[in-house]
Symmetry: C2
């Protein structure tokens, strides 16, 4: 299992944060994580989505400081880093999610 | 001179809008347009930026409904579509620009 890297939010640029959110599948994952605070890879995306695709999307979200992933038993559990992300980019996540509706 | 297409904002997805903003050069162009309401291609980007690069960035911004371009004499003048964009994505542009500072 590769090492999970969680950046310090001060090292995440605004462009990188927007890029992470600029994809409908990743927007769906983030919106799901607001509703349901923990998701494993198989519940993060629509059924039938290839594992490698889900993994890539989660990697992009993790690299932008939007999610943290922890290994719990045999699973990787993903959670939003709401507080960290909002401290770095005030109001951005809330505004994006409000516009997704 | 190719035809300038300005989309109806209802046809612009949130992902497309975020993608247009998810680039430091395009963010700079948008921020400049807030300060200075009209820019031609040569003043939109840092000196020395290739014309084709500037043109590509302006095309992405135009396709996302962020700018309108009009032909005035021998120049193309770019303006922000603040009102249209804000009606479609309330608060998004202001939040992004506040986070750029």
């Amino acid at each position: 299992m590769d090492r999970l890297v969680h950046p310090d939010l001060k090292d995440v640029s605004l462009a990188a944060a927007l890029h992470a959110l600029a994809d409908p599948v990743r927007l769906d994952i983030v919106a799901k994580l607001v509703e349901c605070p923990c998701l494993n890879a198989s519940t993060a995306c629509a059924q039938g989505t290839p594992k490698s695709t889900i993994s890539n999307h989660l990697n992009v979200l993790r690299a932008a400081g939007l999610i943290e992933t922890s290994v719990e038993g045999r699973e990787r559990i993903n959670r939003l880093r709401c507080t960290d992300f909002d401290a770095r980019f005030p109001g951005l996540l809330a505004t994006v999610l409000a516009n997704k509706a």
